[in-house]
């Protein structure tokens, strides 16, 4: 049982550094079992050498390794030894590539390398092998909430992949909104005519599938547990409730049409002949193969579609966003008229026609070909003139006010997501003492942070990430369809498949204790020292994923299958009792303490840099690849997320003679880029309070800087470090050097 050190002398490391002395630093100061050098460590021979040591028997067996070579981003596969705790000491990108050559620099460069080796040795000693917790179970059953086309598609596709699904549908029938439509927009070339909705076929398929169970008239009374072991109470309005267990959840609860009563300017409610798109579907279905008639029985001869009704508008009570499908929906509905009788006048008044892609543009052209008239116009009002309607609008092309008569006006109103309670608003109201939940919860999660999925904007439960649309803040629960984002039927069905993919993945990975993206495959999970815990609940509040509940005694309960291993809880803990086996207060604390802080007379400051491993660290790495120079006084420690930074590290660093601390995390705020959602923000909040600590230590506030750094900041990141050097030049070295 020993720690093996492996020092690579290739890629110029051996040329630039005194490796003999580094070996001795590793063994004597780092106190590891041995340090071997290799001039090409990542070669097969080098890696085989390490693996042989790890395969050895008895005392010779290497159970932890320190790789002293290049950045952890390089040769990752070669130096991946599975569960064996391994520290990567970055001598290439971290030292020789950012320091200029020349004898005047040799001393500080060598010191840098030596410190990093001390740090690596200290880190690996504090690391434990991470194993799965044993909490996990495997359950191949997916709960699908909502029985519209998104939900039905999800259930059927899950079944096709060999998994079970239960559809929980509130109403007494399957089909959702799509079930109320006459037809849908085309899915295949040449995209010219509306097609069957396919709802009947979906229902038949669902009913015939023995892997699918349907609960109609049902809602969810309670959801507890975690991926792989969700426990759900299903309530029924017509019978007894049920208890069921699921491995993962797909929320496909769809949308509610915008309430057109908010649009009195268009005479909605005043005239039965002003209808929404959904109401027109009812008229079209009622008409069957015959002509579409108004409520009063008159056959429609002249219909006007008003696009963006109550949408894309900053007016009070309107929707700011675009619902995406409405242009194509109006086109489809105009075709209902034109296909039955080409002489019916159909006019679409629009601001922008939004029919993207191949299908969209072909469908638009097809409508023009069928004599649907499109006019770029902004509708101000719709007046009721006896039995007729008059649409008043500004024709934006002819630049004049215009009117049109119509016997039916269709309002293209928007979508409101059925996303349940807004847990963030709930929290806010809590603070004011008035809890007012007007919307019923959908999932009724018994999670500490609230009963439903967190919402992104406008009430939709979308992911905030461009690259990761299925990123979820409730692991194992994936939303799909128009509850996630305004979308049309085709996209909703694709979305259902994507969500099912993620649900299946959650089932498979939770069964073996593997983390979900972005730390996919990570087996480590947080645990805490019960005797030290003060039950302050900060970890349960700050966890960006709502993973942590409180047990009956008030202690945190981690639900590791819900955890994403970012360490924000660890950073939050005021008494530092939370840790991961391979990432802890100690693994970082030991590193920063291992640095050799020169006494003040040497005039060599030491700056601790805590850099997010996702963006800031790669940025520093790529700066090094460009050979952008950095200060020799920095000591960089990558962290899983800046949110995992515990203030104790800052205090320890400053208390042990560091002159400054620079923290680099991702962008926070509304357009946050933090991969753990709130991590960077939490770190910023905590560091805003570090000022008190600094002043009790009689240190200048400037000595701690927190920056938002993006992965492209290859020029800026080294400059930020130089700025700290300048600060120290200005305020002087730390008085805490011994």
């Amino acid at each position: 049982m020993k720690i093996g050190g492996y020092l690579c002398t290739g890629c110029g490391i051996g040329d630039r550094l005194d490796t003999k002395s580094l070996e001795s630093v590793a063994v004597r100061e780092g106190r590891i079992g041995f340090c071997k050098t290799h001039d090409f460590l990542c070669s097969q021979a080098g890696v085989d050498m390490i693996k042989a040591d790890m395969a050895a028997e008895g005392d010779d067996k290497v159970t932890k390794a320190v790789i002293m070579a290049c950045s952890r981003r390089a040769k990752t596969e070669s130096f991946n030894f599975g569960a064996v705790p391994t520290a990567r000491v970055n001598l290439r990108e971290g030292v020789i590539w950012i320091r200029p050559e020349g004898s005047e620099h040799d001393e500080t460069t060598q010191e840098m390398a030596a410190d990093y080796i001390r740090m690596g040795c200290a880190e690996v000693k504090a690391m434990q092998q991470a194993d799965a917790s044993g909490e996990q179970g495997k359950n191949n059953h997916i709960m699908v909430v909502g029985g519209g086309i998104t939900g039905m598609t999800a259930a059927l596709e899950a079944s096709k992949a060999g998994y079970y699904a239960s559809i929980i549908e509130k109403s007494d029938r399957l089909g959702g909104v799509m079930g109320q439509l006459k037809q849908r927009q085309p899915e295949h070339s040449p995209f010219q005519n509306p097609q069957d909705t396919g709802v009947a076929a979906l229902i038949a398929a669902v009913e015939a599938d023995d892997k699918i169970t349907v609960y109609l008239n049902s809602t969810i009374a309670k959801t507890a547990g975690a991926p792989g072991r969700f426990e759900v109470d299903i309530a029924s309005t017509v019978g007894a409730g049920t208890h069921a267990e699921f491995g993962a959840i797909v929320q496909a609860t769809g949308f509610t049409p915008y309430d057109a009563n908010n649009l009195p300017e268009f005479s909605y409610g005043k005239s039965p002949n002003v209808v929404t798109q959904l109401e027109l579907e009812a008229l079209a279905r009622a008409a069957g193969d015959g002509p579409i008639k108004r409520a009063d029985g008159k056959v429609v001869e002249n219909v006007v579609f008003v696009q963006c009704a109550g949408q894309r508008s900053t007016k009070e009570g309107h929707l700011s966003y675009c619902s995406g499908h409405c242009c194509a929906t109006s086109i489809k509905q105009a075709m209902y008229f034109k296909d039955s009788n080409p002489d019916i006048e159909t006019t679409v008044l629009f601001d922008d026609i939004r029919t993207p892609g191949v299908g969209g543009e072909n469908f638009y052209r097809s409508a023009q070909d069928k004599f649907v008239t499109f006019r770029k116009g902004k509708v101000s009002t719709v007046d009721v003139k006896g039995n007729e309607l008059q649409v008043n609008f500004k024709d934006l092309i002819l630049d004049e006010d215009a009117q049109m008569g119509a016997d039916l006006v269709v309002l293209a109103t928007g979508m409101l997501p059925n996303s349940g309670t807004d847990i963030d608003t709930m929290k806010d109201k809590d603070a004011n003492g008035e809890v007012k939940v007007s919307v019923e919860s959908i999932l009724n999660l018994n999670y500490r942070q609230g009963p439903d999925m967190p919402q992104l904007v406008n009430g939709f439960t979308d992911s905030h990430f461009i690259c990761f649309p299925y990123e979820t803040r409730r692991t194992g629960i994936y939303s799909a369809g128009p509850v996630r984002r305004p979308m049309d039927a085709a996209q909703a069905q694709t979305d259902a498949m994507g969500a099912v993919m993620k649900a299946i993945q959650a089932i498979e990975n939770s069964a073996i204790g593997r983390a979900a993206h972005p730390r996919s495959g990570d087996l480590s999970f947080p645990s805490f020292r019960k005797e030290g815990c003060t039950q302050c609940k900060r970890c349960t509040v700050e966890c960006p994923f709502g993973a942590i509940d409180e047990d009956e005694k008030g202690y945190p309960k981690y639900n590791e299958a819900r955890c994403r291993r970012c360490g924000t809880c660890m950073g939050a803990c005021p008494v530092q009792v939370i840790s991961f086996k391979n990432y802890s207060i100690e693994t970082v604390g030991a590193q920063l303490k291992a640095v050799d802080v020169p006494d003040e007379f040497q005039e060599k400051p030491r700056i601790l840099v805590l850099a997010c491993e996702n963006d800031a660290y790669p940025a520093l790495d790529m700066a090094a690849m460009k050979r952008n120079e950095s200060s020799a006084f920095i000591r960089v420690i990558p962290v899983r997320c800046l949110g995992s930074t515990n203030t104790i590290w800052i205090k320890d660093a400053l208390g042990s003679g560091y002159d400054g601390v620079v923290m680099m995390g991702c962008k926070k705020g509304a357009d946050y880029q933090c991969h753990f959602v709130k991590g960077s923000e939490m770190a910023h909040v905590r560091m805003a309070k570090i000022g008190d600590t600094l002043s009790t230590m009689n240190l200048e506030a400037d000595r701690v800087a927190v920056h938002e750094v993006a992965i492209t900041d290859i020029d800026r990141a080294p400059k930020l470090l130089d700025e700290m050097v300048e600060v120290i030049n200005r305020v002087g070295l730390s008085p805490f050097k011994f």
Partner: protein, 211 residues
């Protein structure tokens, strides 16, 4: 004939000018496909001289501005350069539609007053019909005298040098005044055109039949 046809058309299409254009104007069935990008309007060499550029005319057709469109001078600004046709993203044969609208407006008795291209164009047609081939000299003289004799003398005096140059270069022949080139099967040629005119009139006329 024009007013009668015009009345019949107004009667038949009752405010659906797009349909009227589709049914009766050369390549008019393309008008519905315009998406108002305006590339035609920006491409025209005589652009600034159009009261209503093609894309706007297409919008006016949808807005049922029948009178304004058919009596517009705009279509008569077309030089047949085909820039609009080459660039139109929807493939509209705009040049032909402009010709068609101009011709149709004229047929409906709504041609703009004293539009020089309309006048010249008619002269050209008459000239070519006469012999089957264009007599450039007569066409040129006709052009100079289109606004009356006195005006014509003034214009042709001004063009004297030009004419002399052309004659010197043997690119204009005074002999043409005596008759000049032509097709030999002139009667057949005339019969053919007459038939074509009849067929076309019948087609447009048919469109005026009551529903």
């Amino acid at each position: 004939m024009t007013t009668a046809v015009n009345q019949a058309m107004v009667e038949k299409y009752k405010g659906n000018f797009l349909k009227e254009v589709t049914d009766n104007v050369e390549e008019g069935n393309w008008v519905k496909m315009c998406m108002q990008c305006g590339v035609c309007s920006g491409s025209c060499p005589l652009g600034p001289h159009w009261d209503h550029p093609p894309q706007e005319l297409f919008m006016m057709i949808r807005a049922n501005k029948r009178e304004e469109v058919l009596s517009s001078t705009s279509m008569w600004m077309c030089t047949s350069c085909y820039n609009c046709v080459a660039r139109c993203p929807r493939g509209l044969p705009i040049t032909h539609i402009m010709h068609g609208l101009a011709h149709y407006g004229k047929r409906m008795g709504m041609k703009p007053k004293n539009q020089p291209t309309e006048k010249f164009g008619q002269m050209f047609w008459d000239n070519l019909i006469k012999k089957g081939r264009v007599n450039e000299l007569k066409l040129g003289l006709g052009l100079y005298f289109k606004d009356g004799f006195a005006e014509g003398v003034k214009v042709s005096m001004g063009k004297q040098k030009l004419g002399m140059n052309m004659m010197k270069a043997k690119r204009m022949s005074p002999m043409e005044i005596l008759g000049g080139h032509g097709v030999s099967d002139l009667s057949g040629f005339h019969a053919m055109l007459k038939k074509a005119e009849e067929l076309e009139a019948a087609r447009v006329g048919a469109n005026t039949d009551a529903k």
